[in-house]
Amino acid sequence: MIDKIGIEQFMILSTLMFFIGVYGFLVRKNLITMLMSVELILNAVNINFVAFNKFYYPQNLQGHFFAMFVIAIAATEVAVAIAIIISLYRKIRTIDVEEVDEMKY
Protein backbone atom coordinates (compact mmCIF):
# COMPACT_ATOMS: atom_id res chain seq x y z
CA MET A 1 0.00 0.00 0.00
CA ILE A 2 2.56 2.45 1.08
CA ASP A 3 4.75 1.71 -1.89
CA LYS A 4 1.86 2.66 -4.13
CA ILE A 5 2.33 6.28 -3.04
CA GLY A 6 3.59 8.00 -6.15
CA ILE A 7 4.81 11.41 -7.10
CA GLU A 8 1.25 12.60 -7.68
CA GLN A 9 0.32 12.23 -4.05
CA PHE A 10 3.40 14.14 -2.96
CA MET A 11 2.65 16.82 -5.46
CA ILE A 12 -0.93 17.14 -4.28
CA LEU A 13 0.22 17.32 -0.69
CA SER A 14 2.88 19.92 -1.34
CA THR A 15 0.58 22.07 -3.44
CA LEU A 16 -2.07 21.90 -0.79
CA MET A 17 0.44 22.85 1.86
CA PHE A 18 1.70 25.72 -0.22
CA PHE A 19 -1.71 27.20 -0.69
CA ILE A 20 -2.75 26.54 2.88
CA GLY A 21 0.37 28.42 3.85
CA VAL A 22 -0.45 31.30 1.57
CA TYR A 23 -4.01 31.32 2.79
CA GLY A 24 -2.86 31.31 6.39
CA PHE A 25 -0.50 34.18 5.70
CA LEU A 26 -3.30 36.18 4.22
CA VAL A 27 -5.97 35.61 6.83
CA ARG A 28 -4.42 34.86 10.20
CA LYS A 29 -4.10 37.95 12.31
CA ASN A 30 -1.41 36.79 14.67
CA LEU A 31 2.12 37.52 13.55
CA ILE A 32 3.42 34.26 14.96
CA THR A 33 0.75 32.31 13.12
CA MET A 34 1.66 34.08 9.95
CA LEU A 35 5.22 33.04 10.50
CA MET A 36 4.02 29.48 10.91
CA SER A 37 2.18 29.77 7.62
CA VAL A 38 5.42 30.72 5.97
CA GLU A 39 6.95 27.62 7.46
CA LEU A 40 4.18 25.62 5.80
CA ILE A 41 5.10 27.11 2.46
CA LEU A 42 8.75 26.32 2.97
CA ASN A 43 7.95 22.79 3.97
CA ALA A 44 5.82 22.38 0.90
CA VAL A 45 8.90 23.33 -1.04
CA ASN A 46 10.95 20.81 0.88
CA ILE A 47 8.49 18.05 0.07
CA ASN A 48 8.69 19.00 -3.54
CA PHE A 49 12.44 18.89 -3.61
CA VAL A 50 12.71 15.62 -1.85
CA ALA A 51 9.94 14.00 -3.84
CA PHE A 52 11.31 15.15 -7.17
CA ASN A 53 14.73 13.96 -6.21
CA LYS A 54 13.48 10.62 -5.08
CA PHE A 55 11.16 9.88 -7.99
CA TYR A 56 12.70 11.60 -10.97
CA TYR A 57 16.34 12.18 -10.37
CA PRO A 58 17.58 9.55 -7.96
CA GLN A 59 21.05 9.71 -9.55
CA ASN A 60 21.94 12.99 -7.81
CA LEU A 61 21.21 14.60 -4.47
CA GLN A 62 20.57 18.19 -5.45
CA GLY A 63 17.00 18.12 -4.16
CA HIS A 64 17.90 16.72 -0.83
CA PHE A 65 20.61 19.23 -0.27
CA PHE A 66 18.43 22.03 -1.29
CA ALA A 67 15.85 20.95 1.21
CA MET A 68 18.43 20.91 3.96
CA PHE A 69 19.53 24.42 3.13
CA VAL A 70 15.96 25.54 3.10
CA ILE A 71 15.43 24.09 6.55
CA ALA A 72 18.54 25.80 7.86
CA ILE A 73 17.72 29.15 6.40
CA ALA A 74 14.11 28.92 7.51
CA ALA A 75 15.40 28.50 11.01
CA THR A 76 17.49 31.65 10.84
CA GLU A 77 14.62 33.49 9.30
CA VAL A 78 12.34 32.47 12.11
CA ALA A 79 14.89 33.45 14.68
CA VAL A 80 15.27 36.94 13.30
CA ALA A 81 11.55 37.28 12.74
CA ILE A 82 10.69 36.28 16.27
CA ALA A 83 13.26 38.71 17.61
CA ILE A 84 11.76 41.53 15.64
CA ILE A 85 8.26 40.57 16.65
CA ILE A 86 9.29 40.64 20.29
CA SER A 87 10.83 44.02 19.80
CA LEU A 88 7.62 45.19 18.24
CA TYR A 89 5.58 43.71 21.02
CA ARG A 90 7.58 45.72 23.51
CA LYS A 91 6.63 48.90 21.78
CA ILE A 92 3.01 48.36 20.89
CA ARG A 93 1.96 45.56 23.21
CA THR A 94 0.26 43.46 20.60
CA ILE A 95 1.14 41.08 17.87
CA ASP A 96 -2.08 41.49 15.92
CA VAL A 97 -1.02 42.25 12.38
CA GLU A 98 -3.88 44.67 11.85
CA GLU A 99 -2.50 46.90 14.57
CA VAL A 100 0.79 47.16 12.77
CA ASP A 101 -0.17 50.04 10.50
CA GLU A 102 1.44 53.11 11.90
CA MET A 103 2.92 53.83 8.52
CA LYS A 104 0.61 54.02 5.55
CA TYR A 105 -0.33 55.95 2.39
Binding site: S14, F18, G21, V22, F25, L31, M34, L35, V38, I41, L42, A44, V45, N48, F49, F52, N53, Y56, Y57, Q62, G63, F65, F66, F69, V70, I73, T76, E77, V80, A81, A83, I84, I85, S87, L88, R90, K91, I92, V100, E102, M103, K104, Y105
Partner: protein, 467 residues
Amino acid sequence: MRHELMLVAVGVIVLIMDLMTSAETKHRIIPVAIVLFLVNTIIGFLPIETGKIFGGMYNTDDITILMKNAMNIGVFIIFLQSAEWLRRHEDRFNSHGAYFFIIVASLAGMDYLISSGDFLMFFIGTELATIPIAALVAIEKARSKSAEAGVKLILSAALSSGITLFGISLIYGTTGSIYFAEVSKAFGNNSLQILAFIFIFAGVAFKISIVPFHLWTADVYEGAPISITSYLSVISKASAIFILVILLYKVFYAIPDIRNNILYATSVLTMTIGNLFAIRQQNMKRFLAFSSIAQAGFVFLGIIGGTQIGFAAVVYFLLIYVFSNLGAFGVVAAISCATGKENMDDYNGLYKNNPKMSLVMMLSLFSLAGIPPVAGFFGKFFLFTSAAKEGYFILVLIAVVNVTISLYYYLLVIKAMFINEQENPIERIDNDIYTKLGLAICAAGILAIGFFGSIFDFINSKTFGAM
Protein backbone atom coordinates in the same frame (compact mmCIF):
# COMPACT_ATOMS: atom_id res chain seq x y z
CA MET B 1 35.68 34.89 -4.61
CA ARG B 2 37.99 37.55 -3.25
CA HIS B 3 35.30 40.10 -2.75
CA GLU B 4 33.25 37.86 -0.56
CA LEU B 5 36.21 36.67 1.45
CA MET B 6 37.45 40.19 1.97
CA LEU B 7 34.03 41.16 3.22
CA VAL B 8 33.92 38.29 5.62
CA ALA B 9 37.36 39.28 6.87
CA VAL B 10 36.32 42.88 7.37
CA GLY B 11 33.20 41.73 9.16
CA VAL B 12 35.08 39.44 11.47
CA ILE B 13 37.70 42.05 12.32
CA VAL B 14 35.03 44.58 13.16
CA LEU B 15 33.19 42.06 15.26
CA ILE B 16 36.30 41.19 17.21
CA MET B 17 37.06 44.84 17.79
CA ASP B 18 33.53 45.30 19.00
CA LEU B 19 34.13 42.62 21.57
CA MET B 20 37.32 44.23 22.75
CA THR B 21 36.12 47.79 23.14
CA SER B 22 34.28 49.09 26.12
CA ALA B 23 31.09 51.13 25.96
CA GLU B 24 32.99 54.43 26.20
CA THR B 25 35.33 53.68 23.38
CA LYS B 26 32.81 52.10 21.03
CA HIS B 27 32.86 55.08 18.71
CA ARG B 28 36.45 54.34 17.83
CA ILE B 29 35.19 51.46 15.76
CA ILE B 30 33.67 53.86 13.30
CA PRO B 31 36.86 55.19 11.70
CA VAL B 32 38.49 51.79 11.81
CA ALA B 33 35.56 50.16 10.07
CA ILE B 34 35.42 52.85 7.47
CA VAL B 35 39.11 52.63 6.74
CA LEU B 36 38.93 48.87 6.61
CA PHE B 37 36.11 49.03 4.19
CA LEU B 38 37.94 51.57 2.11
CA VAL B 39 40.87 49.19 1.92
CA ASN B 40 38.48 46.45 0.91
CA THR B 41 37.00 48.65 -1.77
CA ILE B 42 40.37 49.52 -3.16
CA ILE B 43 41.53 45.93 -3.18
CA GLY B 44 38.37 45.07 -5.02
CA PHE B 45 39.66 47.01 -7.98
CA LEU B 46 42.83 45.01 -8.26
CA PRO B 47 42.88 42.58 -11.15
CA ILE B 48 41.38 39.25 -10.38
CA GLU B 49 41.01 35.94 -12.06
CA THR B 50 37.60 35.15 -13.47
CA GLY B 51 35.88 31.84 -13.90
CA LYS B 52 33.73 29.26 -12.21
CA ILE B 53 34.13 27.26 -9.06
CA PHE B 54 32.07 24.64 -7.28
CA GLY B 55 31.02 23.14 -10.54
CA GLY B 56 29.44 26.31 -11.81
CA MET B 57 27.66 27.14 -8.60
CA TYR B 58 29.68 30.28 -8.28
CA ASN B 59 31.05 32.17 -11.18
CA THR B 60 32.69 35.47 -11.61
CA ASP B 61 33.42 37.57 -14.65
CA ASP B 62 34.27 41.15 -15.47
CA ILE B 63 30.79 42.44 -15.22
CA THR B 64 30.05 40.91 -11.85
CA ILE B 65 33.31 42.30 -10.55
CA LEU B 66 32.37 45.70 -11.84
CA MET B 67 29.03 45.37 -10.13
CA LYS B 68 30.59 44.28 -6.88
CA ASN B 69 32.98 47.19 -6.95
CA ALA B 70 30.15 49.58 -7.58
CA MET B 71 28.31 48.10 -4.63
CA ASN B 72 31.41 48.39 -2.51
CA ILE B 73 31.64 52.07 -3.33
CA GLY B 74 27.99 52.45 -2.50
CA VAL B 75 28.37 50.78 0.87
CA PHE B 76 31.45 52.84 1.53
CA ILE B 77 29.45 55.97 0.96
CA ILE B 78 26.71 54.64 3.20
CA PHE B 79 29.23 54.03 5.94
CA LEU B 80 30.54 57.54 5.58
CA GLN B 81 27.05 58.90 5.82
CA SER B 82 26.09 56.81 8.80
CA ALA B 83 29.07 57.68 10.97
CA GLU B 84 27.44 60.77 12.37
CA TRP B 85 24.21 58.95 12.95
CA LEU B 86 25.95 56.13 14.79
CA ARG B 87 27.75 58.53 17.04
CA ARG B 88 24.66 60.48 17.90
CA HIS B 89 22.59 57.43 18.68
CA GLU B 90 25.09 55.70 20.83
CA ASP B 91 22.64 55.73 23.67
CA ARG B 92 20.00 53.96 21.69
CA PHE B 93 22.08 51.02 20.67
CA ASN B 94 25.61 50.40 21.61
CA SER B 95 26.76 47.96 19.06
CA HIS B 96 28.50 49.77 16.27
CA GLY B 97 30.30 46.59 15.49
CA ALA B 98 27.04 44.79 14.88
CA TYR B 99 25.92 47.52 12.57
CA PHE B 100 28.98 47.27 10.39
CA PHE B 101 29.08 43.51 10.59
CA ILE B 102 25.51 43.05 9.54
CA ILE B 103 25.82 45.34 6.60
CA VAL B 104 29.04 43.72 5.49
CA ALA B 105 27.44 40.31 5.85
CA SER B 106 24.47 41.34 3.84
CA LEU B 107 26.76 42.78 1.21
CA ALA B 108 28.57 39.50 1.06
CA GLY B 109 25.21 37.86 0.48
CA MET B 110 24.61 40.14 -2.44
CA ASP B 111 28.00 39.42 -3.86
CA TYR B 112 27.14 35.75 -3.73
CA LEU B 113 23.80 36.49 -5.25
CA ILE B 114 25.16 38.22 -8.31
CA SER B 115 27.85 35.62 -8.71
CA SER B 116 25.51 32.71 -8.35
CA GLY B 117 25.51 30.00 -10.97
CA ASP B 118 22.80 27.84 -9.58
CA PHE B 119 19.58 28.27 -7.71
CA LEU B 120 20.99 27.17 -4.42
CA MET B 121 23.57 29.88 -4.41
CA PHE B 122 20.92 32.24 -5.63
CA PHE B 123 18.71 31.29 -2.70
CA ILE B 124 21.45 31.46 -0.12
CA GLY B 125 22.62 34.79 -1.47
CA THR B 126 19.14 36.22 -1.36
CA GLU B 127 18.52 35.17 2.18
CA LEU B 128 21.95 36.19 3.37
CA ALA B 129 21.27 39.58 1.89
CA THR B 130 17.79 39.97 3.31
CA ILE B 131 17.66 38.48 6.76
CA PRO B 132 20.44 40.57 8.33
CA ILE B 133 18.95 43.66 6.78
CA ALA B 134 15.61 42.92 8.41
CA ALA B 135 17.40 42.89 11.70
CA LEU B 136 19.04 46.19 10.93
CA VAL B 137 15.77 47.74 9.88
CA ALA B 138 14.43 47.00 13.31
CA ILE B 139 17.59 48.08 15.08
CA GLU B 140 16.25 51.34 16.43
CA LYS B 141 14.59 49.92 19.40
CA ALA B 142 13.33 53.25 20.58
CA ARG B 143 11.11 53.74 17.57
CA SER B 144 8.07 51.59 17.07
CA LYS B 145 8.21 52.42 13.38
CA SER B 146 11.52 50.69 13.16
CA ALA B 147 10.15 47.45 14.57
CA GLU B 148 7.07 47.70 12.41
CA ALA B 149 9.23 48.09 9.35
CA GLY B 150 11.27 45.09 10.43
CA VAL B 151 8.19 42.96 10.80
CA LYS B 152 6.83 44.00 7.48
CA LEU B 153 10.10 43.34 5.78
CA ILE B 154 10.87 39.98 7.28
CA LEU B 155 7.39 38.60 6.84
CA SER B 156 6.87 39.69 3.31
CA ALA B 157 10.42 38.68 2.45
CA ALA B 158 9.67 35.27 3.89
CA LEU B 159 6.54 34.99 1.81
CA SER B 160 8.37 36.04 -1.31
CA SER B 161 11.18 33.60 -0.70
CA GLY B 162 8.61 30.90 -0.14
CA ILE B 163 7.12 31.70 -3.52
CA THR B 164 10.53 31.79 -5.15
CA LEU B 165 11.47 28.52 -3.59
CA PHE B 166 8.30 26.91 -4.80
CA GLY B 167 9.19 28.06 -8.26
CA ILE B 168 12.70 26.72 -7.89
CA SER B 169 11.38 23.38 -6.75
CA LEU B 170 9.19 23.17 -9.82
CA ILE B 171 12.14 24.08 -12.01
CA TYR B 172 14.09 21.32 -10.36
CA GLY B 173 11.22 18.90 -10.83
CA THR B 174 10.84 19.67 -14.51
CA THR B 175 14.46 20.04 -15.52
CA GLY B 176 16.26 17.85 -13.06
CA SER B 177 18.90 20.41 -12.21
CA ILE B 178 19.43 23.54 -10.25
CA TYR B 179 22.41 24.74 -12.25
CA PHE B 180 21.68 27.71 -14.46
CA ALA B 181 23.51 26.27 -17.41
CA GLU B 182 21.61 22.99 -17.35
CA VAL B 183 18.26 24.51 -16.51
CA SER B 184 18.49 26.84 -19.44
CA LYS B 185 18.94 23.93 -21.83
CA ALA B 186 15.92 22.08 -20.54
CA PHE B 187 13.72 25.11 -20.17
CA GLY B 188 11.04 25.57 -22.78
CA ASN B 189 7.42 26.08 -23.49
CA ASN B 190 6.04 24.06 -20.66
CA SER B 191 3.21 25.45 -18.56
CA LEU B 192 4.71 24.29 -15.32
CA GLN B 193 8.03 25.81 -16.19
CA ILE B 194 6.41 29.08 -17.05
CA LEU B 195 4.58 28.99 -13.79
CA ALA B 196 7.87 28.39 -12.07
CA PHE B 197 9.51 31.20 -14.01
CA ILE B 198 6.84 33.61 -12.93
CA PHE B 199 7.18 32.53 -9.31
CA ILE B 200 10.90 33.15 -9.41
CA PHE B 201 10.39 36.41 -11.23
CA ALA B 202 7.97 37.47 -8.51
CA GLY B 203 10.55 36.77 -5.86
CA VAL B 204 13.18 38.88 -7.55
CA ALA B 205 10.65 41.53 -8.43
CA PHE B 206 9.83 41.74 -4.77
CA LYS B 207 13.41 42.67 -4.07
CA ILE B 208 13.41 45.30 -6.81
CA SER B 209 9.98 46.56 -5.67
CA ILE B 210 8.28 46.07 -8.95
CA VAL B 211 4.54 46.74 -8.95
CA PRO B 212 2.53 44.76 -7.77
CA PHE B 213 5.20 43.39 -5.41
CA HIS B 214 6.26 46.77 -4.13
CA LEU B 215 3.88 47.60 -1.33
CA TRP B 216 6.26 46.81 1.49
CA THR B 217 8.82 49.25 0.17
CA ALA B 218 7.50 52.55 1.36
CA ASP B 219 6.71 51.43 4.87
CA VAL B 220 10.02 49.71 5.34
CA TYR B 221 11.96 52.63 3.90
CA GLU B 222 10.18 55.02 6.18
CA GLY B 223 10.58 52.96 9.29
CA ALA B 224 14.16 51.94 8.83
CA PRO B 225 17.12 54.03 9.91
CA ILE B 226 18.11 56.19 6.98
CA SER B 227 21.38 54.51 6.24
CA ILE B 228 19.57 51.22 6.00
CA THR B 229 16.97 52.77 3.77
CA SER B 230 19.63 53.95 1.43
CA TYR B 231 21.24 50.55 1.54
CA LEU B 232 17.95 48.89 0.68
CA SER B 233 17.07 51.32 -2.04
CA VAL B 234 20.43 51.29 -3.70
CA ILE B 235 22.56 48.26 -3.06
CA SER B 236 19.88 45.69 -2.53
CA LYS B 237 17.89 46.91 -5.48
CA ALA B 238 20.90 47.06 -7.76
CA SER B 239 21.97 43.53 -7.00
CA ALA B 240 18.45 42.22 -7.49
CA ILE B 241 18.19 43.95 -10.85
CA PHE B 242 21.49 42.46 -11.84
CA ILE B 243 20.49 38.93 -10.98
CA LEU B 244 17.16 39.43 -12.70
CA VAL B 245 19.01 40.17 -15.91
CA ILE B 246 21.12 37.03 -15.43
CA LEU B 247 18.03 34.96 -14.85
CA LEU B 248 16.16 36.38 -17.77
CA TYR B 249 18.90 36.08 -20.31
CA LYS B 250 21.03 33.23 -19.06
CA VAL B 251 18.36 30.93 -17.76
CA PHE B 252 14.90 31.71 -19.03
CA TYR B 253 15.75 33.05 -22.43
CA ALA B 254 13.61 30.54 -24.29
CA ILE B 255 10.37 32.43 -23.76
CA PRO B 256 11.01 35.89 -25.17
CA ASP B 257 7.38 36.82 -25.83
CA ILE B 258 6.11 36.09 -22.36
CA ARG B 259 9.17 37.67 -20.84
CA ASN B 260 8.85 40.83 -22.84
CA ASN B 261 5.17 41.18 -22.21
CA ILE B 262 5.64 40.75 -18.50
CA LEU B 263 8.47 43.23 -18.50
CA TYR B 264 6.46 45.67 -20.57
CA ALA B 265 3.43 45.55 -18.33
CA THR B 266 5.25 45.62 -15.03
CA SER B 267 7.52 48.38 -16.25
CA VAL B 268 4.62 50.61 -17.17
CA LEU B 269 2.83 49.84 -13.93
CA THR B 270 5.91 50.40 -11.84
CA MET B 271 6.80 53.73 -13.32
CA THR B 272 3.30 55.05 -13.23
CA ILE B 273 2.27 53.85 -9.81
CA GLY B 274 5.57 54.78 -8.25
CA ASN B 275 5.21 58.28 -9.62
CA LEU B 276 1.59 58.66 -8.68
CA PHE B 277 2.37 57.73 -5.11
CA ALA B 278 5.47 59.84 -4.95
CA ILE B 279 3.56 62.98 -5.91
CA ARG B 280 1.83 63.28 -2.60
CA GLN B 281 4.50 62.21 -0.17
CA GLN B 282 5.59 64.56 2.54
CA ASN B 283 8.06 62.36 4.37
CA MET B 284 11.36 62.55 2.52
CA LYS B 285 12.20 58.91 3.06
CA ARG B 286 8.84 57.76 1.85
CA PHE B 287 9.16 60.16 -1.03
CA LEU B 288 12.49 58.71 -2.04
CA ALA B 289 11.08 55.23 -1.59
CA PHE B 290 8.41 55.81 -4.18
CA SER B 291 10.79 57.62 -6.43
CA SER B 292 13.08 54.61 -6.31
CA ILE B 293 10.17 52.36 -7.20
CA ALA B 294 9.59 54.47 -10.27
CA GLN B 295 13.27 54.35 -11.12
CA ALA B 296 13.16 50.58 -11.15
CA GLY B 297 10.44 50.77 -13.76
CA PHE B 298 12.78 52.68 -16.04
CA VAL B 299 15.43 50.04 -15.69
CA PHE B 300 13.16 47.53 -17.37
CA LEU B 301 13.41 49.55 -20.55
CA GLY B 302 17.00 48.52 -20.80
CA ILE B 303 16.25 44.94 -19.95
CA ILE B 304 13.33 44.43 -22.27
CA GLY B 305 15.20 44.34 -25.54
CA GLY B 306 17.65 41.84 -24.26
CA THR B 307 20.50 43.38 -26.16
CA GLN B 308 24.00 43.69 -24.94
CA ILE B 309 23.89 47.43 -25.12
CA GLY B 310 20.64 47.43 -23.21
CA PHE B 311 22.22 45.46 -20.44
CA ALA B 312 25.20 47.77 -20.46
CA ALA B 313 22.77 50.66 -20.14
CA VAL B 314 21.20 48.95 -17.14
CA VAL B 315 24.52 48.52 -15.39
CA TYR B 316 25.51 52.06 -16.26
CA PHE B 317 22.22 53.33 -14.94
CA LEU B 318 22.68 51.39 -11.73
CA LEU B 319 26.15 52.83 -11.28
CA ILE B 320 24.79 56.32 -11.65
CA TYR B 321 21.80 55.48 -9.54
CA VAL B 322 24.11 54.52 -6.69
CA PHE B 323 25.60 57.98 -6.63
CA SER B 324 22.40 59.87 -7.24
CA ASN B 325 20.25 58.11 -4.75
CA LEU B 326 22.95 58.03 -2.12
CA GLY B 327 23.47 61.75 -2.62
CA ALA B 328 19.82 62.39 -1.93
CA PHE B 329 19.68 60.00 0.98
CA GLY B 330 22.89 61.41 2.36
CA VAL B 331 21.42 64.86 2.61
CA VAL B 332 18.21 63.55 4.09
CA ALA B 333 20.24 61.53 6.56
CA ALA B 334 22.39 64.45 7.58
CA ILE B 335 19.41 66.66 8.16
CA SER B 336 17.42 64.01 9.91
CA CYS B 337 20.36 63.17 12.10
CA ALA B 338 21.06 66.75 13.07
CA THR B 339 17.51 67.98 13.51
CA GLY B 340 15.24 64.98 13.34
CA LYS B 341 13.30 66.63 10.55
CA GLU B 342 12.22 64.46 7.70
CA ASN B 343 9.31 66.31 6.16
CA MET B 344 9.40 68.26 2.96
CA ASP B 345 7.98 71.32 4.67
CA ASP B 346 10.93 71.37 6.97
CA TYR B 347 13.16 71.81 3.97
CA ASN B 348 11.66 75.17 3.15
CA GLY B 349 14.42 77.71 2.87
CA LEU B 350 17.13 75.13 3.31
CA TYR B 351 19.37 76.92 0.85
CA LYS B 352 19.62 79.93 3.07
CA ASN B 353 21.65 78.25 5.78
CA ASN B 354 22.86 75.12 4.10
CA PRO B 355 23.71 76.01 0.53
CA LYS B 356 26.11 73.18 -0.11
CA MET B 357 23.77 70.47 1.04
CA SER B 358 21.00 72.01 -0.99
CA LEU B 359 23.18 71.96 -4.05
CA VAL B 360 24.10 68.32 -3.55
CA MET B 361 20.45 67.54 -3.08
CA MET B 362 19.60 69.45 -6.21
CA LEU B 363 22.23 67.63 -8.23
CA SER B 364 21.04 64.29 -6.93
CA LEU B 365 17.44 65.01 -7.67
CA PHE B 366 18.27 66.29 -11.12
CA SER B 367 20.22 63.16 -11.69
CA LEU B 368 17.31 61.05 -10.54
CA ALA B 369 15.01 63.02 -12.75
CA GLY B 370 17.35 62.71 -15.69
CA ILE B 371 18.19 66.33 -16.29
CA PRO B 372 21.39 67.11 -18.13
CA PRO B 373 24.21 67.62 -17.71
CA VAL B 374 24.30 65.43 -14.64
CA ALA B 375 24.80 61.73 -14.98
CA GLY B 376 21.22 60.60 -14.54
CA PHE B 377 20.40 62.07 -17.90
CA PHE B 378 22.82 59.78 -19.64
CA GLY B 379 21.66 56.77 -17.70
CA LYS B 380 18.05 57.31 -18.64
CA PHE B 381 18.83 58.33 -22.16
CA PHE B 382 20.68 55.11 -22.83
CA LEU B 383 17.95 53.00 -21.31
CA PHE B 384 15.48 54.70 -23.60
CA THR B 385 17.75 54.45 -26.58
CA SER B 386 18.25 50.76 -26.15
CA ALA B 387 14.52 50.23 -25.86
CA ALA B 388 13.90 52.42 -28.88
CA LYS B 389 16.42 50.49 -30.90
CA GLU B 390 14.30 47.43 -30.35
CA GLY B 391 11.24 49.30 -31.51
CA TYR B 392 9.51 49.93 -28.18
CA PHE B 393 8.61 53.51 -29.01
CA ILE B 394 5.32 53.56 -27.19
CA LEU B 395 6.96 52.21 -24.08
CA VAL B 396 9.61 54.89 -24.36
CA LEU B 397 6.93 57.50 -24.73
CA ILE B 398 5.18 56.28 -21.59
CA ALA B 399 8.47 56.28 -19.79
CA VAL B 400 9.34 59.79 -20.85
CA VAL B 401 5.95 61.06 -19.83
CA ASN B 402 6.63 59.47 -16.49
CA VAL B 403 9.94 61.24 -16.35
CA THR B 404 8.02 64.47 -16.68
CA ILE B 405 5.71 63.51 -13.85
CA SER B 406 8.67 62.57 -11.73
CA LEU B 407 10.25 65.88 -12.52
CA TYR B 408 7.24 67.48 -10.93
CA TYR B 409 7.82 66.01 -7.52
CA TYR B 410 11.57 66.38 -7.67
CA LEU B 411 10.97 70.01 -8.42
CA LEU B 412 8.74 70.21 -5.38
CA VAL B 413 11.74 69.44 -3.24
CA ILE B 414 13.88 71.90 -5.11
CA LYS B 415 11.14 74.44 -4.72
CA ALA B 416 11.07 73.82 -1.01
CA MET B 417 14.80 74.23 -0.68
CA PHE B 418 15.36 77.21 -2.93
CA ILE B 419 12.11 79.02 -3.42
CA ASN B 420 9.89 78.59 -0.44
CA GLU B 421 10.68 80.63 2.56
CA GLN B 422 9.89 80.11 6.17
CA GLU B 423 10.63 82.01 9.28
CA ASN B 424 12.79 79.42 10.91
CA PRO B 425 14.63 77.51 8.26
CA ILE B 426 16.86 74.69 9.36
CA GLU B 427 19.90 76.07 11.07
CA ARG B 428 23.31 75.66 9.60
CA ILE B 429 24.35 72.05 9.98
CA ASP B 430 27.97 71.28 10.62
CA ASN B 431 28.56 67.90 9.14
CA ASP B 432 31.46 65.78 10.16
CA ILE B 433 34.19 64.98 7.75
CA TYR B 434 32.69 61.63 6.82
CA THR B 435 29.38 63.04 5.74
CA LYS B 436 31.12 65.74 3.78
CA LEU B 437 33.32 63.23 2.08
CA GLY B 438 30.35 61.01 1.34
CA LEU B 439 28.37 63.81 -0.20
CA ALA B 440 31.39 65.01 -2.12
CA ILE B 441 31.92 61.59 -3.64
CA CYS B 442 28.29 61.47 -4.68
CA ALA B 443 28.40 64.93 -6.18
CA ALA B 444 31.59 64.16 -8.02
CA GLY B 445 30.16 60.94 -9.34
CA ILE B 446 26.97 62.60 -10.47
CA LEU B 447 28.82 65.36 -12.23
CA ALA B 448 31.59 63.35 -13.77
CA ILE B 449 30.25 60.00 -14.89
CA GLY B 450 28.30 61.35 -17.83
CA PHE B 451 31.20 63.18 -19.33
CA PHE B 452 33.46 60.20 -19.52
CA GLY B 453 31.95 58.24 -22.31
CA SER B 454 34.61 55.61 -21.90
CA ILE B 455 32.94 54.38 -18.72
CA PHE B 456 29.95 53.32 -20.68
CA ASP B 457 32.02 51.86 -23.43
CA PHE B 458 33.97 49.91 -20.87
CA ILE B 459 30.81 48.49 -19.35
CA ASN B 460 29.49 47.70 -22.77
CA SER B 461 32.60 45.77 -23.64
CA LYS B 462 32.15 43.60 -20.57
CA THR B 463 28.48 42.76 -20.74
CA PHE B 464 26.63 40.13 -22.64
CA GLY B 465 23.44 40.12 -24.59
CA ALA B 466 20.59 37.71 -24.99
CA MET B 467 21.66 34.27 -26.02
